[in-house]
C-alpha cells in the first residue's frame, strides 16, 4: 500500500511542483489579485456595518444587540474573513488547466500519457492552490488581526470543532476540484469557455455563501443550494470555525458525512462525464 502511494506521488508530484514554480514566477499578478480580493472584504465590511446600523435604527436597539439570522456584527466580520480564507484554501480549480489544454491543443499530448488525466489535473490544481492559499491565508490572517483591534470579534472554537474544520476543509477542496473538473467537461462539449466560466464563478460565489451566509438564504435559494455542491466547498467548513458544532460532535460528524457523500457522488459523475467527453474531444490546432 505504502509503495503504491509512493509511486502515485512520484508520478504526479512533478505536476504540482511545476505549477507552483510557474505561479511563483507571476508574483506580480498575485499582488494585484490580492488587492482585488481586499476590495471585496472592505466593501463587505462597510456594507454589513451599514446594514447592522440600519437594523439597529429600525428596531430601536443598540448596534451590538442586533442579530441577523443569528449573526452579530462581530460574527459577520469573522464570516467575511473566513469566507475568503477557506475559499483560498479549497479553491482547487481545474478549469483553467483544462481550458489551456483544449485551446492550445495540448490535450492530445495529455491523453497519450499513461497517467490518469483527472489525477494530473488534481496535482496541478493542488500546486496552484498551495501557492494562492499561502498568500491569501497569510494576508487575510493579518487583515483579520488588524480588524480585531477595532471590532470585538467573538472567535472561540473548541478543539473538537477545530479538528473537524480541518477535515472539512480537506473534503471541501476535493469537492471543489471535482465540481471544477465536471465543469471543465462541459467546456469540452461546448468549446466556449469565457461566458460559462464567469457564470460558474458567479453561481458558485452566491451559493457557496460568498454574498450572504447560506443561513440567511430565502427558501427558494436554499432549495437550489441543497441540490448543488457549492455550499459544501466553502460554507460548511466556515460553520465549524464559527462554532456552530461546539458541543455537538454528532452534528458535526453528520455534516462531514454529507461532504463524504458529495465526494462519492461527484467522483461517479466526473468519471461518467470524462468517458463521454474523451470520445468527443476535438483537438484544436496541434
Amino acid at each position: 500500500m505504502s509503495r503504491r502511494i509512493g509511486s502515485v506521488l512520484r508520478r504526479y508530484l512533478p505536476f504540482t511542483r511545476g505549477v507552483m514554480q510557474e505561479a511563483l514566477t507571476y508574483r506580480f499578478r498575485f499582488v494585484f489579485w490580492l488587492l482585488f480580493e481586499f476590495f471585496y472584504v472592505i466593501i463587505a465590511f462597510y456594507l454589513w456595518r451599514s446594514v447592522f446600523e440600519a437594523r439597529a435604527a429600525a428596531e430601536g436597539i443598540a448596534f451590538d444587540a442586533v442579530a441577523i439570522g443569528g449573526y452579530s456584527f462581530g460574527m459577520m466580520v469573522l464570516y467575511v474573513f473566513f469566507e475568503r480564507i477557506v475559499g483560498s484554501l479549497t479553491a482547487l480549480a481545474a478549469e483553467n488547466f483544462i481550458d489551456d489544454d483544449i485551446h492550445e491543443g495540448n490535450i492530445a499530448m495529455r491523453l497519450i500519457k499513461p497517467l490518469d488525466y483527472r489525477m494530473q489535473l488534481f496535482a496541478q490544481s493542488l500546486g496552484y492552490a498551495a501557492v494562492s492559499a499561502a498568500v491569501f491565508s497569510l494576508s487575510f490572517g493579518i487583515g483579520l488581526f488588524v480588524v480585531s483591534r477595532a471590532v470585538d470579534l467573538p472567535f472561540a472554537v473548541t478543539a473538537a470543532s477545530a479538528a473537524m474544520a480541518a477535515v472539512s476543509i480537506v473534503f471541501a477542496g476535493v469537492i471543489y476540484f471535482l465540481t471544477s473538473f465536471l465543469f471543465g467537461m462541459i467546456i469540452f462539449f461546448t468549446l466556449n469557455s469565457f461566458g460559462m466560466w464567469q457564470l460558474k464563478g458567479a453561481v458558485e460565489r452566491l451559493l457557496a455563501g460568498g454574498i450572504i451566509p447560506v443561513a440567511l438564504f430565502p427558501g427558494w435559494l436554499k432549495a437550489i443550494s441543497d441540490f448543488l455542491p457549492f455550499a459544501q466547498t466553502r460554507y460548511v467548513p466556515i460553520t465549524f470555525l464559527l462554532g456552530q458544532y461546539d458541543g455537538d460532535v454528532a452534528g458535526g460528524l453528520a455534516a462531514l458525512l454529507v461532504q463524504l457523500l458529495w465526494i462519492g457522488l461527484m467522483l461517479g459523475l466526473t468519471t461518467l462525464a470524462w468517458k463521454g467527453a474523451v470520445r468527443r474531444v476535438v483537438v484544436q490546432g496541434g
Binding site: S50, G195, G201, L221
Partner: protein, 277 residues
C-alpha cells in the same frame, strides 16, 4: 468622418455574422453576464428590503444598482478590445494595427463589438423598469438630458481608466492585472458611497472616479440633494452640490481622464517596439 461611420458599421456587421454563426455561445455569454449582475441583488433583497440603508430606501438602492450597470455596459459593449492590448503586444500581433489606414486606437476599438455587455444593460434596464415606477419621480425634458449626459460622462470614465491602464502595457508588456484591479474599484459604487470612510470617497471622486458612473447620477435622478446624510456624507467631495455643479464636475473629470488616457496612449505608442518575429 463619414468613412469612419461606414467602416464602423462594416465591423459591427462582421460581428453580427459571427454571432449568428455561434448563436449558442453568444446567448450563454449574454445570459451569464446578466446572472452575474443579478446575484448581487440577493443581498439587497434579503437584508435591506424593510430598513433601507441610511437615506436610501430599498427601491432607491435598486436604482443605484441599476445605474451602475448602464455606463459599465455601454463601455463594455464598445471598447472591450482595450483589455487585450498587452496580450497583442506580447504575441507580436499589435503590429497589424500600425499598418492599417486608420488611427491605431480607432481600429483597435472598432474591431471588437462585445455583445455580452447586453447582459449588463439588460439587468440595468429591467431593474430600472421595476424600481422607478415604485418611486414618485417626474422627469422633465431637461432632466432626461441631464441623465443622458451623466451616463455619457460615466461611460467615458470607464473607457478612460481602461485606456490609461492599457497604455501602461507599452512599458511593461503586461498590464492586465493592474487593469482589472483599477476597473474593479468600480464595484464600490454599487452601493451608496456614504457607507464608506471619507478616504475611500475621495478615491471614488478624484483618483478612480467611478462615483460619477452610478452614485451621483442616482443622487440626481432621485433628487437626494435635500437629504443631509447624502449632502454631508456621499457628496462631501463634490465642489458645487447642485445638479448642474455635479454634472459639471462629472464632465470635467471624464474629460481630464480621457485626455490623460489619450496622452499616455500616444506616448506609449511612440515607444512601441515589435515583439520580434
Amino acid at each position: 468622418m463619414k468613412r469612419r461611420v461606414r467602416l464602423y458599421f462594416m465591423f459591427v456587421a462582421q460581428h453580427l455574422k459571427r454571432m449568428i454563426q455561434y448563436r449558442a455561445d453568444f446567448a450563454i455569454g449574454i445570459l451569464s453576464f446578466a446572472i452575474i449582475q443579478a446575484t448581487g441583488i440577493v443581498f439587497l433583497d434579503v437584508l435591506v428590503k424593510e430598513t433601507g440603508l441610511y437615506a436610501w430606501t430599498y427601491y432607491e438602492l435598486l436604482v443605484i444598482y441599476a445605474m451602475f450597470q448602464i455606463p459599465r455596459g455601454i463601455d463594455h459593449l464598445l471598447t472591450d478590445n482595450l483589455w487585450l492590448v498587452g496580450w497583442y503586444i506580447r504575441r507580436g500581433q499589435f503590429d497589424k494595427y500600425l499598418v492599417r489606414p486608420m488611427p491605431v486606437l480607432t481600429h483597435l476599438i472598432i474591431e471588437r463589438f462585445q455583445l455580452e455587455a447586453l447582459g449588463e444593460l439588460l439587468v440595468g434596464g429591467v431593474i430600472l423598469a421595476f424600481a422607478l415606477p415604485r418611486l414618485a419621480i417626474a422627469l422633465s425634458v431637461a432632466d432626461v438630458l441631464y441623465l443622458f449626459l451623466f451616463i455619457l460622462a460615466g461611460t467615458v470614465i470607464y473607457t478612460a481608466i481602461k485606456l490609461i491602464t492599457a497604455s501602461i502595457a507599452f512599458w511593461t508588456m503586461d498590464s492586465q492585472a493592474m487593469q482589472s484591479a483599477a476597473y474593479e474599484v468600480a464595484i464600490f459604487t454599487k452601493n451608496p458611497i456614504e457607507i464608506y470612510p471619507k478616504g475611500i470617497r475621495f478615491l471614488l471622486v478624484y483618483l478612480l472616479p467611478f462615483g460619477f458612473t452610478s452614485f451621483f447620477p442616482s443622487v440626481f435622478l432621485l433628487s437626494k440633494f435635500g437629504d443631509p446624510s447624502v449632502l454631508e456624507g456621499g457628496m462631501d467631495w463634490i465642489l458645487w452640490k447642485t445638479p448642474a455643479g455635479m454634472l459639471l464636475q462629472a464632465g470635467v473629470t471624464a474629460a481630464a481622464f480621457l485626455a490623460a488616457g489619450l496622452l499616455l496612449w500616444k506616448k506609449g505608442l511612440s515607444r512601441y517596439e515589435s515583439a520580434g518575429s
